[in-house]
Symmetry: C2
Subunit: 190 residues, 2 copies
Protein backbone atom coordinates (compact mmCIF):
# COMPACT_ATOMS: atom_id res chain seq x y z
CA UNK A 1 0.00 0.00 0.00
CA UNK A 2 1.42 3.34 -1.06
CA UNK A 3 1.14 6.46 1.08
CA UNK A 4 1.29 9.95 -0.40
CA UNK A 5 4.04 12.15 1.06
CA UNK A 6 3.34 15.30 -0.95
CA UNK A 7 5.49 17.19 -3.47
CA UNK A 8 9.03 16.83 -2.13
CA UNK A 9 12.57 16.67 -3.51
CA UNK A 10 12.87 13.17 -2.19
CA UNK A 11 14.72 10.62 -4.27
CA UNK A 12 17.70 8.53 -3.38
CA UNK A 13 20.54 7.85 -3.53
CA UNK A 14 22.39 11.09 -4.34
CA UNK A 15 26.09 11.60 -5.01
CA UNK A 16 28.28 13.73 -2.76
CA UNK A 17 30.40 15.97 -4.95
CA UNK A 18 32.57 18.98 -4.24
CA UNK A 19 32.32 21.83 -6.74
CA UNK A 20 35.36 24.04 -7.36
CA UNK A 21 35.13 27.60 -8.71
CA UNK A 22 36.96 30.93 -8.69
CA UNK A 23 35.49 34.12 -7.27
CA UNK A 24 35.76 37.38 -9.20
CA UNK A 25 38.95 38.24 -7.28
CA UNK A 26 40.50 34.90 -8.18
CA UNK A 27 40.00 33.16 -4.83
CA UNK A 28 39.43 29.41 -5.15
CA UNK A 29 36.29 28.14 -3.43
CA UNK A 30 34.69 24.76 -2.91
CA UNK A 31 31.20 23.73 -1.89
CA UNK A 32 29.45 20.38 -1.55
CA UNK A 33 26.48 19.38 -3.70
CA UNK A 34 24.24 16.33 -3.50
CA UNK A 35 22.01 17.36 -6.37
CA UNK A 36 23.62 16.53 -9.64
CA UNK A 37 24.30 13.78 -12.12
CA UNK A 38 25.81 12.86 -15.45
CA UNK A 39 23.36 13.98 -18.12
CA UNK A 40 24.85 13.28 -21.57
CA UNK A 41 27.32 10.82 -23.08
CA UNK A 42 28.23 12.77 -26.22
CA UNK A 43 29.32 15.44 -25.60
CA UNK A 44 29.95 14.23 -22.05
CA UNK A 45 28.02 16.51 -19.70
CA UNK A 46 27.25 16.70 -16.01
CA UNK A 47 24.63 18.76 -14.19
CA UNK A 48 24.80 20.34 -10.75
CA UNK A 49 22.21 22.48 -8.95
CA UNK A 50 23.20 25.47 -6.81
CA UNK A 51 21.09 28.05 -4.96
CA UNK A 52 21.40 31.59 -6.28
CA UNK A 53 22.53 32.92 -2.87
CA UNK A 54 25.68 30.78 -2.91
CA UNK A 55 29.12 32.16 -3.69
CA UNK A 56 29.56 29.22 -6.08
CA UNK A 57 26.54 30.43 -8.07
CA UNK A 58 28.15 33.85 -8.63
CA UNK A 59 31.52 32.25 -9.36
CA UNK A 60 30.26 29.82 -11.99
CA UNK A 61 28.08 32.50 -13.57
CA UNK A 62 31.18 34.72 -13.87
CA UNK A 63 33.76 32.13 -14.97
CA UNK A 64 31.50 29.79 -16.97
CA UNK A 65 33.44 26.89 -15.54
CA UNK A 66 33.54 24.55 -12.56
CA UNK A 67 35.15 21.34 -11.44
CA UNK A 68 33.51 18.34 -9.84
CA UNK A 69 35.74 16.70 -7.27
CA UNK A 70 34.66 13.26 -6.08
CA UNK A 71 35.73 12.78 -2.46
CA UNK A 72 36.65 9.42 -0.99
CA UNK A 73 35.19 8.21 2.27
CA UNK A 74 38.48 9.31 3.86
CA UNK A 75 37.53 12.92 3.08
CA UNK A 76 34.13 12.79 4.74
CA UNK A 77 34.72 15.29 7.57
CA UNK A 78 36.31 17.88 5.30
CA UNK A 79 33.57 17.35 2.72
CA UNK A 80 30.79 17.87 5.25
CA UNK A 81 32.49 21.03 6.49
CA UNK A 82 32.30 22.41 2.94
CA UNK A 83 28.51 22.19 3.23
CA UNK A 84 28.45 24.04 6.56
CA UNK A 85 30.82 26.97 6.00
CA UNK A 86 30.44 29.67 3.33
CA UNK A 87 33.26 30.80 1.09
CA UNK A 88 31.94 34.33 1.61
CA UNK A 89 33.63 34.49 5.02
CA UNK A 90 35.76 31.32 5.22
CA UNK A 91 38.78 30.14 3.25
CA UNK A 92 37.55 26.57 3.08
CA UNK A 93 40.79 25.30 1.57
CA UNK A 94 42.72 26.77 4.51
CA UNK A 95 40.42 25.34 7.19
CA UNK A 96 40.18 21.85 5.69
CA UNK A 97 43.82 21.63 4.67
CA UNK A 98 42.79 20.75 1.11
CA UNK A 99 44.93 22.11 -1.73
CA UNK A 100 43.56 24.07 -4.71
CA UNK A 101 45.14 23.32 -8.08
CA UNK A 102 44.53 25.63 -11.04
CA UNK A 103 43.03 23.67 -13.94
CA UNK A 104 44.93 24.14 -17.18
CA UNK A 105 41.77 23.42 -19.16
CA UNK A 106 38.96 25.40 -17.52
CA UNK A 107 38.85 28.53 -15.36
CA UNK A 108 38.29 26.71 -12.06
CA UNK A 109 40.35 25.08 -9.33
CA UNK A 110 40.28 21.41 -8.40
CA UNK A 111 41.11 19.60 -5.17
CA UNK A 112 44.54 17.99 -5.25
CA UNK A 113 43.74 15.36 -2.60
CA UNK A 114 40.53 13.99 -4.16
CA UNK A 115 40.75 10.89 -6.36
CA UNK A 116 38.52 11.82 -9.32
CA UNK A 117 38.12 15.25 -10.95
CA UNK A 118 35.90 16.50 -13.79
CA UNK A 119 36.84 19.79 -15.46
CA UNK A 120 33.74 21.42 -16.94
CA UNK A 121 32.78 24.35 -19.15
CA UNK A 122 29.23 25.66 -18.68
CA UNK A 123 26.98 24.92 -21.66
CA UNK A 124 23.48 25.49 -20.25
CA UNK A 125 22.11 27.44 -17.29
CA UNK A 126 18.53 26.62 -16.32
CA UNK A 127 16.83 28.70 -13.65
CA UNK A 128 14.46 26.28 -11.94
CA UNK A 129 13.34 28.28 -8.90
CA UNK A 130 15.28 28.03 -5.65
CA UNK A 131 18.06 26.25 -7.52
CA UNK A 132 19.84 26.97 -10.78
CA UNK A 133 21.03 24.00 -12.78
CA UNK A 134 24.43 24.39 -14.41
CA UNK A 135 25.14 21.87 -17.15
CA UNK A 136 28.85 21.56 -17.84
CA UNK A 137 30.57 19.84 -20.71
CA UNK A 138 33.27 17.59 -19.27
CA UNK A 139 36.49 18.70 -20.97
CA UNK A 140 38.71 16.24 -19.12
CA UNK A 141 38.59 13.69 -16.32
CA UNK A 142 41.61 13.38 -14.06
CA UNK A 143 42.19 10.54 -11.63
CA UNK A 144 44.78 9.90 -8.97
CA UNK A 145 47.15 7.18 -10.15
CA UNK A 146 46.55 5.25 -6.93
CA UNK A 147 42.89 4.59 -7.89
CA UNK A 148 43.66 3.31 -11.41
CA UNK A 149 43.87 -0.34 -12.44
CA UNK A 150 46.72 -1.68 -14.60
CA UNK A 151 44.93 -0.54 -17.76
CA UNK A 152 44.65 3.02 -16.44
CA UNK A 153 40.94 2.93 -15.61
CA UNK A 154 39.50 4.08 -12.25
CA UNK A 155 38.48 1.34 -9.83
CA UNK A 156 35.18 2.12 -8.13
CA UNK A 157 36.21 0.63 -4.79
CA UNK A 158 39.49 2.59 -4.79
CA UNK A 159 37.70 5.88 -5.51
CA UNK A 160 35.38 4.81 -2.66
CA UNK A 161 32.83 7.61 -3.12
CA UNK A 162 30.34 8.86 -0.54
CA UNK A 163 26.57 8.84 -1.09
CA UNK A 164 23.84 10.82 0.58
CA UNK A 165 20.18 10.29 1.30
CA UNK A 166 17.61 13.07 1.25
CA UNK A 167 15.43 10.93 3.53
CA UNK A 168 17.59 11.38 6.62
CA UNK A 169 20.16 13.93 5.39
CA UNK A 170 22.89 11.41 6.10
CA UNK A 171 25.98 10.09 4.35
CA UNK A 172 26.46 6.48 3.32
CA UNK A 173 29.41 4.39 2.25
CA UNK A 174 29.49 2.43 -0.97
CA UNK A 175 28.29 -1.10 -0.29
CA UNK A 176 29.08 -4.43 -1.93
CA UNK A 177 29.33 -4.84 -5.70
CA UNK A 178 26.16 -6.63 -6.83
CA UNK A 179 27.21 -7.51 -10.39
CA UNK A 180 27.49 -6.22 -13.93
CA UNK A 181 24.85 -4.06 -15.58
CA UNK A 182 23.24 -5.38 -18.77
CA UNK A 183 24.04 -8.90 -17.62
CA UNK A 184 22.26 -9.88 -14.39
CA UNK A 185 18.82 -9.33 -15.90
CA UNK A 186 19.36 -11.91 -18.66
CA UNK A 187 18.62 -14.60 -16.06
CA UNK A 188 14.96 -13.52 -16.12
CA UNK A 189 14.46 -14.71 -19.70
CA UNK A 190 16.68 -17.80 -19.57
CA UNK B 1 49.79 12.50 -9.13
CA UNK B 2 46.77 12.96 -11.39
CA UNK B 3 46.48 11.24 -14.74
CA UNK B 4 44.31 12.63 -17.56
CA UNK B 5 41.66 10.21 -18.83
CA UNK B 6 40.14 12.43 -21.53
CA UNK B 7 36.64 13.85 -21.91
CA UNK B 8 34.36 11.12 -20.54
CA UNK B 9 31.00 10.85 -18.80
CA UNK B 10 32.74 9.42 -15.78
CA UNK B 11 31.50 10.43 -12.35
CA UNK B 12 30.26 8.31 -9.54
CA UNK B 13 28.17 7.23 -7.85
CA UNK B 14 24.96 7.26 -9.91
CA UNK B 15 21.44 6.32 -8.85
CA UNK B 16 19.56 3.41 -10.43
CA UNK B 17 16.06 4.57 -11.21
CA UNK B 18 13.25 3.10 -13.27
CA UNK B 19 11.31 5.56 -15.43
CA UNK B 20 7.64 4.90 -16.17
CA UNK B 21 5.83 6.32 -19.20
CA UNK B 22 2.91 5.64 -21.53
CA UNK B 23 3.28 5.09 -25.27
CA UNK B 24 0.94 6.81 -27.70
CA UNK B 25 -1.33 3.76 -27.70
CA UNK B 26 -1.53 3.80 -23.91
CA UNK B 27 0.87 0.92 -23.22
CA UNK B 28 2.81 1.33 -19.97
CA UNK B 29 6.58 1.08 -20.36
CA UNK B 30 9.54 1.19 -17.98
CA UNK B 31 13.25 1.71 -18.59
CA UNK B 32 16.23 2.04 -16.26
CA UNK B 33 18.30 5.22 -16.02
CA UNK B 34 21.52 5.88 -14.13
CA UNK B 35 21.86 9.45 -15.30
CA UNK B 36 19.67 11.72 -13.27
CA UNK B 37 19.35 13.58 -10.03
CA UNK B 38 17.27 15.92 -7.94
CA UNK B 39 17.80 19.42 -9.33
CA UNK B 40 15.59 21.87 -7.43
CA UNK B 41 14.04 22.13 -3.95
CA UNK B 42 11.29 24.62 -4.73
CA UNK B 43 9.49 23.69 -6.87
CA UNK B 44 10.80 20.18 -6.26
CA UNK B 45 12.30 18.95 -9.54
CA UNK B 46 14.22 15.94 -10.77
CA UNK B 47 16.18 15.48 -13.99
CA UNK B 48 16.67 12.33 -16.06
CA UNK B 49 18.56 11.89 -19.32
CA UNK B 50 17.26 9.63 -22.11
CA UNK B 51 18.59 8.92 -25.61
CA UNK B 52 16.35 10.10 -28.44
CA UNK B 53 16.11 6.59 -29.91
CA UNK B 54 14.42 5.21 -26.80
CA UNK B 55 10.70 4.50 -26.61
CA UNK B 56 10.70 6.37 -23.29
CA UNK B 57 11.93 9.51 -25.09
CA UNK B 58 8.96 9.43 -27.47
CA UNK B 59 6.59 8.60 -24.63
CA UNK B 60 7.68 11.44 -22.36
CA UNK B 61 7.72 13.88 -25.27
CA UNK B 62 4.14 12.90 -26.06
CA UNK B 63 2.68 12.72 -22.54
CA UNK B 64 4.80 15.43 -20.83
CA UNK B 65 4.96 13.21 -17.78
CA UNK B 66 6.97 10.40 -16.24
CA UNK B 67 7.43 8.60 -12.97
CA UNK B 68 10.65 7.75 -11.20
CA UNK B 69 10.47 4.43 -9.42
CA UNK B 70 13.27 3.70 -6.95
CA UNK B 71 13.93 -0.05 -6.86
CA UNK B 72 15.14 -1.89 -3.78
CA UNK B 73 18.10 -4.24 -3.92
CA UNK B 74 15.50 -7.05 -4.00
CA UNK B 75 14.44 -5.83 -7.45
CA UNK B 76 17.94 -5.88 -8.96
CA UNK B 77 17.44 -8.63 -11.57
CA UNK B 78 14.18 -7.15 -12.87
CA UNK B 79 15.71 -3.67 -12.87
CA UNK B 80 18.71 -4.77 -14.90
CA UNK B 81 16.43 -6.53 -17.38
CA UNK B 82 14.69 -3.18 -17.98
CA UNK B 83 18.02 -1.84 -19.24
CA UNK B 84 18.53 -4.76 -21.61
CA UNK B 85 15.12 -5.16 -23.30
CA UNK B 86 13.28 -2.51 -25.31
CA UNK B 87 9.65 -1.63 -24.83
CA UNK B 88 9.40 -1.44 -28.63
CA UNK B 89 9.23 -5.24 -28.84
CA UNK B 90 8.89 -6.42 -25.22
CA UNK B 91 6.17 -5.97 -22.61
CA UNK B 92 8.64 -5.40 -19.81
CA UNK B 93 5.94 -5.45 -17.14
CA UNK B 94 4.83 -8.88 -18.36
CA UNK B 95 8.33 -10.39 -18.48
CA UNK B 96 9.44 -9.02 -15.09
CA UNK B 97 6.15 -9.65 -13.32
CA UNK B 98 6.05 -6.03 -12.19
CA UNK B 99 2.67 -4.32 -12.02
CA UNK B 100 1.84 -0.99 -13.68
CA UNK B 101 -0.40 1.37 -11.72
CA UNK B 102 -1.98 4.39 -13.42
CA UNK B 103 -0.98 7.57 -11.61
CA UNK B 104 -3.97 9.72 -10.66
CA UNK B 105 -1.78 12.84 -10.79
CA UNK B 106 0.31 12.60 -13.96
CA UNK B 107 -0.13 10.80 -17.28
CA UNK B 108 2.33 8.00 -16.52
CA UNK B 109 2.35 4.59 -14.85
CA UNK B 110 4.30 3.67 -11.75
CA UNK B 111 5.59 0.33 -10.46
CA UNK B 112 3.42 -1.12 -7.72
CA UNK B 113 6.20 -3.24 -6.19
CA UNK B 114 8.85 -0.50 -5.83
CA UNK B 115 9.15 1.30 -2.46
CA UNK B 116 9.49 4.94 -3.54
CA UNK B 117 7.76 6.71 -6.45
CA UNK B 118 8.01 10.26 -7.82
CA UNK B 119 5.20 11.46 -10.10
CA UNK B 120 6.52 14.17 -12.42
CA UNK B 121 5.24 16.68 -14.98
CA UNK B 122 7.78 17.80 -17.59
CA UNK B 123 8.84 21.44 -17.13
CA UNK B 124 12.01 21.66 -19.24
CA UNK B 125 13.43 19.63 -22.12
CA UNK B 126 17.10 20.24 -22.90
CA UNK B 127 18.61 18.63 -26.00
CA UNK B 128 22.24 18.00 -25.03
CA UNK B 129 23.43 15.79 -27.90
CA UNK B 130 23.14 12.02 -27.62
CA UNK B 131 20.91 12.48 -24.58
CA UNK B 132 17.92 14.69 -23.88
CA UNK B 133 17.46 15.90 -20.35
CA UNK B 134 13.88 15.93 -19.10
CA UNK B 135 13.33 18.03 -15.99
CA UNK B 136 10.16 17.06 -14.19
CA UNK B 137 8.39 18.87 -11.40
CA UNK B 138 7.66 16.36 -8.65
CA UNK B 139 3.90 16.56 -8.11
CA UNK B 140 3.81 13.87 -5.43
CA UNK B 141 6.02 11.30 -3.75
CA UNK B 142 4.52 7.96 -2.81
CA UNK B 143 6.14 5.43 -0.55
CA UNK B 144 5.28 1.91 0.46
CA UNK B 145 4.02 1.87 4.04
CA UNK B 146 6.54 -0.84 4.92
CA UNK B 147 9.47 1.56 4.35
CA UNK B 148 8.08 4.39 6.51
CA UNK B 149 9.07 5.12 10.10
CA UNK B 150 6.47 5.82 12.83
CA UNK B 151 6.30 9.48 11.78
CA UNK B 152 5.50 8.51 8.18
CA UNK B 153 8.91 9.33 6.71
CA UNK B 154 10.86 6.94 4.43
CA UNK B 155 13.78 5.09 6.04
CA UNK B 156 16.81 4.99 3.74
CA UNK B 157 17.84 1.47 4.78
CA UNK B 158 14.31 0.15 4.23
CA UNK B 159 14.11 1.65 0.74
CA UNK B 160 17.54 0.02 0.26
CA UNK B 161 18.27 1.62 -3.13
CA UNK B 162 20.77 0.37 -5.73
CA UNK B 163 23.68 2.48 -7.00
CA UNK B 164 25.71 2.18 -10.15
CA UNK B 165 29.23 3.07 -11.18
CA UNK B 166 30.14 4.29 -14.65
CA UNK B 167 33.71 3.09 -13.99
CA UNK B 168 32.89 -0.61 -14.23
CA UNK B 169 29.23 -0.52 -15.32
CA UNK B 170 28.29 -2.39 -12.17
CA UNK B 171 25.66 -2.16 -9.47
CA UNK B 172 26.41 -1.56 -5.80
CA UNK B 173 24.47 -1.90 -2.60
CA UNK B 174 24.04 0.92 -0.12
CA UNK B 175 26.79 0.70 2.49
CA UNK B 176 26.93 1.75 6.12
CA UNK B 177 25.50 5.03 7.36
CA UNK B 178 28.45 7.35 8.04
CA UNK B 179 26.62 10.09 9.94
CA UNK B 180 24.53 13.21 9.62
CA UNK B 181 25.18 15.90 7.02
CA UNK B 182 25.88 19.45 8.28
CA UNK B 183 27.14 17.94 11.52
CA UNK B 184 30.22 15.74 11.08
CA UNK B 185 32.27 18.60 9.62
CA UNK B 186 31.90 20.76 12.71
CA UNK B 187 34.60 18.65 14.35
CA UNK B 188 37.15 20.29 12.02
CA UNK B 189 36.75 23.71 13.62
CA UNK B 190 36.27 22.56 17.21
Amino acid sequence: MKKSLGAKALALPSPVWVVGSYSTDGQPNIMVVAWGGICCADPPCVAISVQSTRLTHANISQCNAFTINVPSKDHLLATDFLGIASGKNTDKFLVTGLTPVRSEIVNAPYVKEFPLILECKVRHVIDLGLHTQFIGEIMDVKAEEAVLDHSGWPVTEKVNPILSSACNRSYYALGDCLGKAYSLGLSIVK
